[in-house]
């Protein structure tokens, strides 16, 4: 890669100038206290050590300790209590609802993401950048407000609430509200990963396929989809993590009906507010595990994409 050649270029100047004796100040190399050569574009070793130490201390205080605390608190009362927290009927129903919400929201936003990317990347139309901005809009809306807007629409004192109530349809403080709020907060995830990639790839390959007689669907399944599969997977991983973990928006619309409208994060909150800390942290550890798996998958996809990219850059041998 380009970076590598520059660095080795820098090293070359070391070999040229690394003659023993006085090296004038301001040259590209200096000797440090240990008598070892230091590139002028490197920090002094104590600066470097200070930066690395501060970074590790900061990350430990803010990230690592809280993460470890989840599992420590969860296991504080022993393994039996830990596993009992999951077999509790309310915990099981929270797990079921969380899975149900993800199973509905992820595919819906996946289909939307693909449709939006196809329309935006393969065709020219006025208002395109406006549309992309609107798709990103839910990211700019805070979780609580994302829940609030559905209460204003469907709540008993909202616009459609009384009318829906006359047909005995309940959305707020019921499962549909939880699903709608989750759909809103996870809306952009797939689209914002796939749109830029499809735009970058252009439509030459699709045009070739169509001109060779492929139908629209064949082109999509055999050409477009394989080209964007990693970005798609990346979007789905992030979308799923948020769908299963959303708290603020769901908190507003759910009503916390135990065994009915409680998702896992809401179940954590209830247990915690009842001072049932061991169970709260046990359920939290399940969500933390999900987050760690998400990060691992995400890193794996990133690594895979980088490798494919580097392979594509290498000249054929």
């Amino acid at each position: 890669m380009v970076d590598g050649t520059e660095v080795s270029g820098g090293r070359m100047s070391v070999t040229v100038q690394s003659l023993p004796g006085a090296i004038p100040k301001g040259s590209l190399v200096e000797t440090n206290l240990a008598g070892r050569l230091r590139l002028a574009t490197d920090e002094r070793s104590w600066v470097k050590a200070l930066l690395i130490t501060s970074t590790l201390v900061f990350l430990t205080l803010v990230l690592f300790v809280p993460l470890a605390a989840i599992f420590a608190e969860a296991l504080r009362k022993g393994v039996a209590v830990y596993f009992a927290s999951f077999t509790d009927a309310h915990a099981l129903s929270a797990i079921r609802l969380t899975l149900l919400v993800a199973i509905i929201c992820v595919p819906l936003n996946l289909v939307f993401g693909l449709a939006a990317s196809w329309a935006i990347a393969k065709f020219q139309f006025p208002g395109k950048s406006m549309l992309i901005t609107l798709i990103d809009l839910p990211f700019a809306v805070s979780p609580v407000i994302s829940g609030l807007i559905f209460v204003l629409l469907f709540g008993l004192r909202g616009w459609l609430g009384p009318w829906l109530d006359s047909y005995h349809i309940q959305i707020i403080f019921a499962v549909p509200g939880v699903i709608l709020a989750t759909l809103f907060v996870t809306f952009p995830f797939v689209a914002r990963e796939v749109i830029p990639l499809m735009q970058e790839q252009g439509s030459d390959e699709e045009l070739a396929a169509v001109s060779l007689g492929a139908s629209g669907w064949q082109t999509f399944w055999r050409v477009t989809l394989p080209n964007v599969k990693w970005a798609l997977l990346y979007g789905v991983i992030l979308c799923n993590a948020r769908a299963m973990g959303e708290f603020g928006a769901v908190n507003v619309v759910s009503g916390h009906v135990r065994g009915k409208t409680n998702t896992l994060p809401l179940h954590v909150e209830i247990l915690y507010n009842e001072y049932n800390f061991a169970a709260a942290f046990a359920v939290a550890s399940l969500l933390a595990l999900l987050a760690l798996i998400t990060l691992a998958l995400k890193s794996a996809v990133e690594w895979r994409v980088r490798r494919e990219f580097e392979q594509a850059l290498e000249p054929p041998t």
């Binding site: 935006i120 700019a140 252009g202 439509s203």
Partner: protein, 279 residues
Amino acid sequence: MAFPRTKNSVLPGFGLTMGYTVLYLSLIVLLPLGALVIKSATLGWAGFWAAAWNTRVVASYKLTFGTSLIAATINAVFGLMVAWTLVRYTLPGKKFIDALIDLPFALPTAVSGIALTAVYAKNGWIGQYLDAIGIKAAFSPLGIVIALTFIGLPFVVRTLQPAIEEIDRESEEAAASLGATRWQTFWRVIFPSVLPALLTGFALSFARALGEYGSVVFISGNMPMKTEIASLLIITKLEQYDYAGATAIATMMLAASFVILFAINAVQWWTARKYRGVA
């Protein structure tokens, strides 16, 4: 630009995909958000201000903006350090640390909230030492700052990493060969080139902090006028079926986050123009 020129495209599916995109976008995003705008419009000017600007609400704005600003500043300073360390230095377990930076994105906010509370409470792992020197971390504005720092960190680090990777090492070498100390090179060469990314990361972290709810409610203590953030006040109003009050506060907060996003776009536009001017 790599925009495909497909005006009279032979590719099929524009009507279907465009129609579905607009329909789904309208149903899930535009219609509900429209409800908020219309609701706040029906409040009337006087009613809106009474709900959006009374003492308790203003206290929550001050707290929310103040703690968010402090947290974003901490993240800007330490985020730059973390990003620099991760890009430039080799250390054991770097890939693992790098992946964990995204933890605040992936961890449900309620989980972050109870974890931070457990650690920073009076008897917690870190809280006990802070308590010994007379610092109350959890259930005080400091606790809110800690939660918002946690939540905002990845925004700064992830925005800065590519910017640091893209720094032209040759310009650093040039500065050094012209006699600049490393410190001068940092301030005059490196810092200006990462400044736009730093500002963007700061603003993203600030915007996220303004609307944050889950990680804050557990650690803040939620005392009206003291540790009650705006998001919590919206929920309190909703629980009292005070839709008007909740809507007014939400409109103010939403306006604030749009202003910040506009500022981020302005920074990026300004950077793009500057670089075009140089090239």
